[in-house]
Every structure is written in structure tokens, then in C-alpha cells.
Assembly symmetry: C2
Homo-oligomer: 279 residues x 2
């Protein structure tokens, strides 16, 4: 989910009160040319199209409830495998594939839209100077797979949205959260926008290492690579996160409104959607 320049869209999901709880809602468009890595099967395309939206819902600390799929198909024969993968991903995360829309399209284009519920949704805003900066799992694995390190292929081709991790972190009382699907650093720049008066300091030595990848390349993949489905979050140093989930403390929230890696300003780059303006 992206922003349309509206304040309440500085989050992975839109949030609306519903009785004593909140509905969170997100929509994501993926299409063949830019979103599906070479070699991805139609079943994996279906899986991934659901996973991107579940990751947005997870980033709010919400439990996903239902997902809908709009499929613009280049060839009708692809539908069965795509829906099979989509249904598998929904089932794996206890959510319902509630139907959708079907259309003919020159380029395979899939939009998944989902809603979830959260009593205490966690937003991108809420970081406090002095908070720990953390990430679930190991960032950079999808980019490593793209670069030919095949031991990491499954992270690229069948990404696992961190649904249970997100719910756990929301219950634990983390202060802010988002997913890193466009890259760790570029996501921290998004958090910068949502948190005036705060900045983020990453210690590259605290990043989990990528086995079989040289340290320099590993650092590049971890900081700037896209395609991961980790959750970036901040929390008070006093909070005990326990051993339930796999996470790393990779830095801290600072008063300086910049994104720093080892004390120096980080380049604002990652995986981005770009279109060509008319001349």
C-alpha cells in the first residue's frame, strides 16, 4: 500500500474504528513486468499476490480477516494455478479468499485487497528517541536470491508475511512498525516522514549476516535490497520481547531527523516503482 498524500495513509493500511476494535484495510497491485522475478511459477505468483497484502496487515499488528483478488489475465489457462497459490497463502495465515474480479489483460496484473482487525493497531508513527530499532527475520535474503544465491530462493519466491510476529509485537506494545518490502533503508525514510523529530541510526555490524555472501555484498543486500517481508519496529529499551519471535536489534531511534548507517547519512534508495512522465 502506498500513500495518496493523506495523513492517515502514512501507514501500511488505512485504519477505521469499528465498535471496540479497528478495521485495517490495504490494497496492492503487482504485475508481471516489475513484480514477479524470473522463474516464478503461476502458483507462486498467486501466493505472492496475497502475501504482499497480508504483510501490510501484519505491519499494523492486525489479524487478517479476508482478502479479495482482482486478476487481469493474459491467458485464461493461468487462472487455476494462480488461484491455487492464492488459496494456499490465505489458508496458511488463517484468512479467507473472499472472491474477486476477473478480466482480460495484455500483461498479467493482480490486485489483492484485504482487511483485518486490530484492537491496538501499530502505526508507522510513534517512534520515540531512545527506542530500540529492530527487525524481524533476516533482511536481504530476497535480494541475495535475485543476485544468484539460490539457497535464498524460497524467500524470494514464496515470501512469508510476518502475521503472527506482527500480532505478537502489537500485544507487546512496540511504538511503531512497518514492513520493509521495498528495502530497509527506503522504509526507514518512510518512517522518517511519519515521525517528525525522530531519526533512525542503523549499526551495520548489528545486521544479521547472510551465510555464503561476502560481508560487503551482504550489507548492500540487507540495507538496500527489496522483496523481503520483514517487519521493522521500534520499542522502548525497557520492554522484554522474549524469545517467541526471531528479531534483531539493529540500531536506535535518534533525535536527529535523518537516516544514518554507522553514523553517516544513508542513501535514499531501494526498490521503487517509477513511471515515465510525458515529455
Amino acid at each position: 500500500m502506498d500513500t495518496f498524500g493523506r495523513e492517515h495513509c502514512l501507514d501500511d493500511c488505512a485504519v477505521f474504528p469499528c465498535g471496540k476494535t479497528n478495521i485495517v484495510a490495504s490494497t496492492d497491485m503487482v504485475h508481471e513486468k516489475t513484480d514477479f522475478p524470473p522463474g516464478m511459477t503461476d502458483r507462486q505468483i498467486g501466493w505472492m499476490s496475497i502475501a504482499v497484502t497480508l504483510s501490510d496487515i501484519a505491519a499494523m499488528g492486525a489479524a487478517p480477516s479476508l482478502v479479495m483478488l482482482a486478476v487481469g489475465l493474459d491467458r485464461g489457462s493461468r487462472l487455476e494455478a494462480i488461484l491455487h497459490g492464492a488459496a494456499e497463502c490465505c489458508k496458511a495465515y488463517g484468512t479467507i479468499l473472499a472472491g474477486g474480479d476477473l478480466d482480460a489483460h495484455d500483461e498479467l496484473t493482480i490486485v489483492s485487497s484485504g482487511i483485518g482487525f486490530a484492537d491496538h493497531p501499530v502505526r508507522r508513527s510513534g517512534s520515540r528517541p531512545g527506542d530500540r530499532l529492530c527487525i524481524t527475520g533476516i533482511p536481504g535474503r530476497s535480494q541475495a536470491a535475485l543476485a544468484g544465491y539460490h539457497r535464498y530462493d524460497r524467500y524470494l519466491y514464496e515470501p512469508r508475511p510476518q502475521v503472527n510476529e506482527g500480532i505478537y509485537l502489537a500485544e507487546t506494545g512496540v511504538t511503531s512498525m512497518m514492513d520493509n518490502s521495498d528495502g530497509l533503508i527506503i522504509s526507514l525514510y518512510d518512517m522518517l516522514e511519519a515521525n517528525p523529530g525522530c531519526g533512525y541510526m542503523v549499526e551495520s555490524s548489528a545486521l544479521p549476516t547472510l551465510e555464503d555472501v561476502s560481508p560487503d555484498k551482504g550489507k548492500e543486500f540487507s540495507l538496500y535490497g527489496g522483496g523481503d517481508f520483514n517487519l521493522i519496529f521500534t520499542c522502548s529499551p525497557e520492554i522484554d520481547l522474549g524469545n517467541t519471535i526471531d528479531y534483531h536489534v539493529i540500531g536506535s531511534v535518534i533525535r536527529d531527523a535523518r537516516v544514518l548507517v554507522d553514523g553517516r547519512a544513508a542513501e535514499m534508495r531501494g526498490y521503487q516503482h517509477i513511471w515515465v512522465e510525458e515529455e
Copy 2:
């Protein structure tokens, strides 16, 4: 919204209980080549992309709550006008444009996904033999506009989803309902599927006439034309629908599981999405 062959998708929306009420959810994909008539402005494209989903929500008798938009843009310069039209349509129907996703695409492709709430959602199923068959508004006007009858252009270019009509009809206790965006007859064939043991008899003389259009052409447009946003519904002959909404009784629900026009089987045709299978 289309079906994925699941029972609860035989409706314009998916329906899920939420406390004492129900969430209805729908997603619709529209794109340049097949869904936007020639001459449609970008503002109107934005309006229409919201209207299709609001019409699905209206067809359940639900009040729309929020809509999200995923836009695959061929040229970035189109975004402002599209979002302007989308926001106008949301505002006109008291709903929120909750954000969305933005991507580059060769062909302009927009997916709107919305949710609404209904204490008593009306489904496509529920027709009873002996019920009156009715339609809100005047079917065929969009097809007339497409055929060059410019007095009907606004129905084609800025369709009005029948949100208040849908809510009113649900409160009145109609037995089944759907929208007719792909055409009246093709929609009745959809209702046939959802109502085993029922059929639908249309009296063509009861169809509201299209001014300036010859009776033969008018009948063709009304029965088989697409692009309208009317609500087809059935209700007991005992129910008084009052004068609050504009509707016509156009036939009745019969025990014969067929769609008839003036006693003869109707052709199963309308506006359909078709893609080419591989050879």
C-alpha cells in the same frame, strides 16, 4: 465483482458477520481498453472506478464505508485528475477514499476495493416464485449513449451507483437483488444460478421507454445493453415500496428455471469480459 466458483461469491459482494452487523466487501478491475468508453475524461475514469464498487455494495443493500484504489498508471500526469474524480464519487456517496497503491503500467488499469456494512444484506438468492421482478431507474441508457444518443451521455460517463436505493430496498424487505452493470438479461441469468427452482419472466412492454430511441432499439438496449448501474430486485407483491425511489415492475419470478422475455427464452448475452485462450 465476479465469482471464483465459490458459493458465497454468488453475490455482488462477499459477506462476513461482524458483531451485530455484516461487512460486505467487493473488488473491481477496470482498464482502458475494455471499460472506458471513447471520450471519457480522466476525472470521469476516476469517478467510474469508484462507482463500480459502490454499485456492488449498493446491490447488497449496504452502506459503503471505505474504498481503496490501486492504480496502474501509463502516464504519471493522469493521476491528479483520476484521484480528483475518485474523491468526488466517494464524497457524493458519503464514503472515504482510504488510500491505495500506485504502480507503473503500459495500460491504465484501476482496481477499486470497498467495504460496507449491512444489518440485513440482500443477496442474489432469495427470489420466490410469485415475487414481482423490478428494476430501479431506466435500463439501456448507457448503451443508448454508446450508440450515439448523446442525451444519455451522462449515464455512460458519470454513472450513479444506487446506494440510497439499495439501502432503502434492504430496509423494505426485498427478497433478492443485484446490479445490472453487464446488462439486464445477463444479470437475470446470474440470478438464475443463485436461485435454483426459480426463473424470471420479463414483460418487454413494462420496460420504461427510452425517449428519442425507436421501440425496437430501445428494447434491445434495455434488455442487453451494458454500462448501467440500476438495481434489479424481487419482492413480494404484498410489499408497498412507496414513492421514495424510482423503480419499475418489469415482470415476475416464475417456477420455470428459465429467463423469458414475453414468454420466450431470452438469449444469454450482454457485456462480457473475454480473453483469448492459448492455441
